[in-house]
Amino acid sequence: MILLFVSLFSFSANSNAKSITLGWAAWDPANALQELTKEFTAETGIEVNFEFVPWPNFADRMLNELNNKGKTFDLLIGDSQWIGAGAVYGHYVKLNDFFDKEGISMSDFSPATVYAYSTWPKGSPNYYALPAMGDALAWAYRKDWFDRPELKSEFKKKHGYDLGVPANWNQLHDMCSFFQGREIDGQKRYGAAINTERGSEGITMGVTAAMYAWGMEYENPNKPYDMEGYFNSPQAVEAVEFYRKLYEDCAPPGHSDAYMVANLDAYKSGQVAFQMNWYAFWPGVSKEDSDGRVSGFFANPKQNVAAATLGGQGISVVKYSDKQDLALEYIKWFARPDVQQKWWDLGGYSCHNDVLNSPSFPTSTVYAQGFLDSMGIVKDFWQEPTFVELMLPMQEAIHDYVVNGKGTAKGALDKIIEEWVEVFEADGKL
């Protein structure tokens, strides 16, 4: 009996000492990571527990945990915008010494992802995360519908060019409105499932896809935080107006508070010809093509410039963890090129150059080339420590204009700047 107790106690003590907890959002790539991590456990004997939080609660849950100096997570795959807060408020461990010691070089990773997911201040050689999951906002479309001769000829007759991957946002609108309300195979179809979500970041991520393509800049490049004339430039205003037009003319009925899952549902149920979403979902969409549905994928169309909204995350070690050494061991393993290749094979989006620059990469999946194209043109929302305070007014003002139809695009952008000035003033930046 005593022996049993002792062995149970030692097992429990041992398992506690050799286990870590990783927090991320609950979505397809998280399942792929869980699968991949089995190899880490087999190699090192370190158990990895996962806590995956649904997207709508992801930021709240994780940021509250960090603000409370919680020890729940040893590793965190946090959104790119959190890097500022992670570094400034000391939530994340600075990884420079560790990278130097282990020979992990940031030049082995795609520069855009290192800039976006790892560095603070932006672009400086201060690393707080290892690029873990490359991502950008892109588009999926019903290739099977596009290939139908009767639809192709009708579209060409109407618009004078071929129905296919849109070369710019105007063409995207033409195509989406072409499908809006159209009956295909006895069912009414609609144009595009676009981001309109109000609560977290959805509509901001959607509208910025247009704003970046129109050439919007957040601030004066020579005078940080000077936003007047940049964020509310005529191009930015035009982009926001266009996004509203896209919503009004092409979204399915009831698509007024939709983000990742709602867009996927609208697309998978055959309601829409296009969906806007993250690359992270394309492996699932592609795999689940059935009943004649064939999906095509393309990077965010250009308008005045080629640009795409950045998604994705880096993996960081939480400063409050008691098991930082084990967490760092995981990062060391995850940074290995062979592990990164397996990560891509399982459906994760590796940011490692060995994977991305491999000659077979562009043809490895139907969306791989689009991913490469997108990662070269990505732009991100503010990554300031106050990014949540910056995100919320934008969500409200843009939703008010695009979905609620209230006011003007210029008025909405002016209102956002006003709120942002207040945030930067409170943060001592202005």
Binding site: Y89, P253, S256, V388, E389, D400, V403, N404
Partner: protein
């Protein structure tokens, strides 16, 4: 034995304190202390997420900022509209249902149980499943409305005109049974001899309702509305699940805005001032309301 003796020696006052002590302690710890702390915070520029930054005293700045902010008044207006319509509808429909169920008929008990069911559900769950009911493509709500009159496809949650009504409808659906139950209790407390005497005096049914039923049930109805008013002033979960405060800010109630300011933007000082203002508002209205209610009861 000694313990028994010890307790025997306690005065009535001491025993009373022994019983109420834990409650008083909990009240002080959970209600009063946070309230005082919030009031203190409301005079500072404290941000709960800015670790290591000491809050500074800013006087009445937060209060002035809240009261001068146009967006806050918009939220208060949304809240006032929501409260007005929900309370009005719940009073009228609740009283009507109570009058109906106060009669004896076959299936009365089953009907009462069915009517009370929505009240038993979690507000968050109600919010989620009404989003499906309101769906313009597959939702039952559009189908039912169009069955009576063809309005075509309309989006209750996505339209700025309809969205405020969408939350009023759901709250009324959920909480009218509460008003009904309290009114029913009031109706059942009216002595029968009053109606018998009225009939002897040849009072019509309408006169009986105006002079006997309504005055008797009014204090109960007012009490129900007081509870509902307080609840709806701080309404949060159902509306967040249903509309997230949208489209835009068309259904962003004061409580939702307060949560966003306090726990998403982390403006702790500012949101404490806002919370104090909301507290004073509801406390003031509540006090006036109770005084009016007592006067009506005394009549």
């Amino acid at each position: 034995m000694s313990v028994k003796k010890k307790f025997k020696g306690l005065s009535d006052k001491a025993v009373a304190w022994l019983f109420i002590g834990p409650s008083v302690f909990l009240l002080l710890a959970i209600n009063i202390y946070p309230l005082i702390y919030a009031i203190r915070m409301s005079f500072t520029n404290f941000y709960a997420n800015k670790i290591g930054r000491e809050p500074q005293f800013v006087g009445l700045k937060n209060y002035i900022k809240v009261l001068n902010k146009e967006a806050i008044w918009e939220k208060m207006q949304v809240t006032a509209n929501f409260m007005f319509w929900t309370l009005l509808l719940q009073a009228v429909i609740g009283l009507g249902l109570a009058l109906l169920l106060n009669r004896k008929f076959k299936g009365n008990e089953l009907l009462t149980t069915l009517i009370v069911l929505p009240m038993m559900l979690s507000p968050a769950v109600v919010g989620v499943f009404w989003t499906y009911l309101y769906n313009p493509q597959v939702g039952l709500f559009n189908y039912v409305i169009n069955f009576f009159h063809d309005f075509g496809s309309f989006d209750m949650i996505g339209s700025s005109v309809l969205a405020p009504w969408s939350i009023v409808i759901v709250d009324t659906w959920m909480w009218t049974p509460f008003t009904m139950l309290i009114c029913l209790a009031g109706l059942r407390s009216v002595p029968n001899y009053l109606y018998e005497a009225a009939e002897v005096d040849r009072a019509s049914k309408w006169q009986q309702f105006i002079y006997i039923t309504l005055p008797s049930v009014l204090p109960f109805l007012l009490l129900a509305l007081l509870f509902r008013g307080i609840e709806n002033f701080k309404m949060f979960d159902m509306v967040v699940e249903l509309t997230s405060g949208g489209p835009g800010s068309a259904t962003e109630l004061a409580s939702i805005n307060l949560k966003r300011e306090a726990f998403e933007k982390w403006k702790t000082g500012y949101s404490s001032a806002f919370a104090v203002i909301l507290f004073v508002t509801i406390f003031g209205f509540g006090n006036v309301y109770v005084k009016v209610m007592n006067k009506i009861k005394e009549r």
